[in-house]
């Protein structure tokens, strides 16, 4: 009788690399910040750039989140998403121009109220538009990616042209509300007040969204729908209605992002939606189509990257984001946090 093969089970802790792996996307943001700190000579300008990078990332996240959820839920890819950004910006800025007595006053509360009014107005307008867009343009082409891309692109062209008809072809320059102009100094770094507000709004939106998705029944249905839509329908939920709701919410968020982005750039044009679409797509691809967390992390990375590189070598800013996308796709071909479909 031969001896039993040697069998000595050992209990080993997972190695550090293995334990860090699930958190890799979040750690990447920190790694990017540290890289920036090394590459940028002065700490104060690094701080300024980091804050503006975060602000930009938050805004992109707000605009991109709707797109990624809509895709995850119904496999609908909306190339016209940028139209909501433009319309949101134009409606919001029109409100702000009407409320000039409030934005011109040096009181922070009056300014913020005016901004809230503009944001609510813009979100209502784009939400309504999203509802119409879904009904007229997207609904007839469910299940056809090719047609979806073509038709939503057509929708974007039409909306862009309608904006020009309604608001005129010239770009509109805007003044930020009085109390949000200028910067505060913190640790020797100048931090623009408006960017801090943008970071705040972005965080609130992200946390609210996370709460809705994780803690409420509707969020549960949405998450289940992303994972396995047929099963959710078999359980008796009308996923189509949920989808329309998500589409409207996503459009409204794009409108909110449009207002914030317009105030950030201090100028709006009818083509701004088309321009932001490029960043939005990069973010959505980096994050993994359909994943909200991935979208958030991707947006922050793109925002930081853009600001750091623009400081170090201005001509490479947009290219750097494409490089980032390429690198991430080489690492994880489906994006950082791929959505697992149970199909």
């Amino acid at each position: 009788m031969s001896a039993a093969p040697e069998h000595n089970p050992t209990m080993a802790r997972m190695s550090l690399a293995e334990r860090l792996e699930p958190h890799a996307p979040v750690l990447l943001i920190i790694a990017l910040m540290i890289l920036g700190l090394i590459a940028i000579p002065s700490t104060s300008s690094w701080l300024t750039l980091t804050v503006s990078g975060l602000a930009m990332g938050m805004m992109i996240f707000i605009m991109a989140s709707g797109l990624t959820l809509v895709f995850g839920l119904m496999d609908v890819i909306n190339f016209g998403h940028g139209a909501f950004v433009s319309v949101g910006a134009f409606v919001g800025i029109s409100f702000l121009l009407m409320l000039e007595h409030m934005t011109g006053a040096p009181s922070l509360w009056l300014n913020l109220t005016a901004m809230m009014v503009a944001i609510v107005g813009a979100m209502a307008a784009t939400g309504l538009m999203g509802w119409a867009f879904e009904k007229v343009i997207v609904k007839p082409v469910y299940g056809h990616h090719l047609k979806q891309i073509l038709v939503t692109m057509g929708g974007l062209i039409v909306v862009e042209q309608l904006i020009i008809v309604l608001w005129g072809p010239e770009e509109i320059f805007i003044n930020r509300p009085e109390a949000l102009k200028g910067a505060i100094t913190f640790a020797g770094a100048a931090l623009e007040k408006y960017r801090l507000v943008a970071v705040g709004i972005g965080l609130v939106v992200f946390l609210a969204m996370r709460w809705v998705l994780r803690r409420t029944k509707i969020g549960l249905i949405v998450r289940a729908g992303v994972e396995n839509g047929e099963m959710v329908e078999a359980l008796g939920y009308r996923l189509r209605l949920v989808f329309v709701g998500v589409f409207i919410a996503g459009s409204a968020l794009a409108g909110l992002g449009g207002v914030l982005w317009g105030l950030y750039q201090e100028v709006i044009t009818a083509h701004m939606g088309n321009q932001t679409m490029i960043l939005i797509f990069i973010v959505v691809i980096i994050g993994g189509l359909g994943s909200v967390e991935g979208c958030f992390i991707g947006a922050l990375m793109v925002g930081l990257m853009q600001n750091y590189v623009a400081f170090l070598e201005p001509k490479l800013a947009l290219i750097s984001n494409i490089g980032l996308m390429v690198a991430i796709l080489m690492w994880r071909p489906m994006g950082m946090i791929p959505v697992v479909k149970a199909k």
Binding site: K147, M153, I157, I164, N274, L318, I319, I322, L329, M330
Partner: protein
């Protein structure tokens, strides 16, 4: 003979056959039938856009891949010729080197983008091309030392293609026998050859496999075709032909700039031409490009007239303003994707 030349793809509709014949004859004899500078220019533009749109259709209609970087490839060819002509001096060698290197770079870039995106999902390709194309457009306008930035580049092309060169005395049907005529026929015949080449390609076994992939990629894979390989190869060929069309455009205009060869507007024009003409047939590109370029040149005048006619009513004049013609084309585009996904050519063939 004709059957062989058209690779067995006869028009299969009397109206379509007549339309195609009229377009071919008009383009072939354009300098003689329509002798004005503007109309010859329009004819050359139509020739070049037919090739450009057909090469896009190779990707969209046959491969089922949506790309937003087609103007980038077009621009690469155009800038290839421009840079070669600037640095190598005027001469046919510069044109040749410029066109070929432009086509090569376009194909390589298409290969890279294709390998990155097509292996995951075909829709990634649409998004990534949009991002890359806009980055290239920004880069071209920023690297003004090399590309002339927003102003673009003007350069000299060989003397034999200029109006000062006369290859025969006298006039034929009132048209001077000068280099301009030669240049038009260079463009015309190059476009004709490229078009027939593409027609050959889509009716070869390779084209059949592409159609199979478009209809059902899962099944094509199951039969044993490497879907990703076929898609990537189609993308590369399409990019190279688009670059060649760009080179011809650069030769014709003797100028390149971001507006004429790289802008997003041209991309949208191409999309409209493909869809309105008919996806998935090469003849769709002919009809679409011809109608669109003619409309671009002449419809705007008509809209101007209409806009003045309704000047009393609010908003309507703005909607009919000649600059807003994209609005109406966009509406037409959406409607045609819904109701005539096969475009004009598909309709004509059905109604036979």
């Amino acid at each position: 003979m004709l059957n062989k030349l058209l690779s067995g793809d006869m028009p299969r509709s009397t109206v379509l056959a007549i339309l195609l014949a009229v377009i071919l004859i008009c383009l072939a004899l354009a300098p003689f039938i329509f002798p004005g500078v503007r109309s010859v220019d329009t004819a050359a533009r139509i020739c070049i856009f037919i090739v450009l749109v057909a090469s896009y259709d190779l990707m969209l209609g046959y491969g089922g891949i949506v790309s937003f970087a087609h103007t980038m490839f077009f621009g690469l060819g155009a800038y290839g010729v421009a840079l070669a002509s600037t640095h190598m001096g005027r001469g046919f060698d510069a044109l040749l080197v410029g066109s070929l290197s432009g086509a090569l770079i376009a194909a390589l870039l298409a290969l890279l983008i294709g390998l990155f995106s097509l292996r995951v999902r075909a829709i990634f390709f649409a998004m990534i091309t949009l991002a890359v194309a806009s980055a290239v457009a920004v880069l071209v306008s920023q690297l003004s030392g090399l590309t002339g930035g927003e102003d673009g580049l003007s350069y000299k092309i060989p003397r034999e293609l200029g109006p000062a060169f006369k290859f025969a005395d006298g006039e034929l049907f009132g048209v001077k026998m000068n280099g301009k005529l030669l240049k038009y026929y260079l463009v015309f015949f190059s476009c004709l050859i490229l078009f027939l080449l593409m027609l050959r390609m889509v009716h070869s076994p390779f084209g059949r496999v592409l159609l199979a992939i478009r209809e059902n990629d899962f099944r094509a894979e199951a039969i044993g075709y490497r879907v990703v390989h076929y898609r990537v190869v189609a993308t590369c060929i399409s990019a190279a032909i688009a670059a060649l069309a760009g080179s011809l455009y650069a030769i014709w205009l003797r100028y390149v700039g971001p507006d004429t060869s790289l802008s997003m507007e041209i991309m949208i024009d191409i999309l409209l031409m493909v869809v309105i003409g008919g996806m998935g047939t090469m003849y769709g590109a002919v009809i679409g490009a011809t109608l669109f370029v003619l409309a671009q040149n002449y419809l705007q005048n008509l809209m101007d007239v209409a806009s003045h006619a309704v000047s009393g009513i609010p908003i309507l004049p703005d909607l009919l303003n000649a600059d807003r013609w994209l609005l109406w084309l966009g509406v037409l585009f959406i409607l045609s994707v819904y109701f005539f996904p096969t475009g004009i050519v598909g309709r004509l063939r059905q109604g036979k």
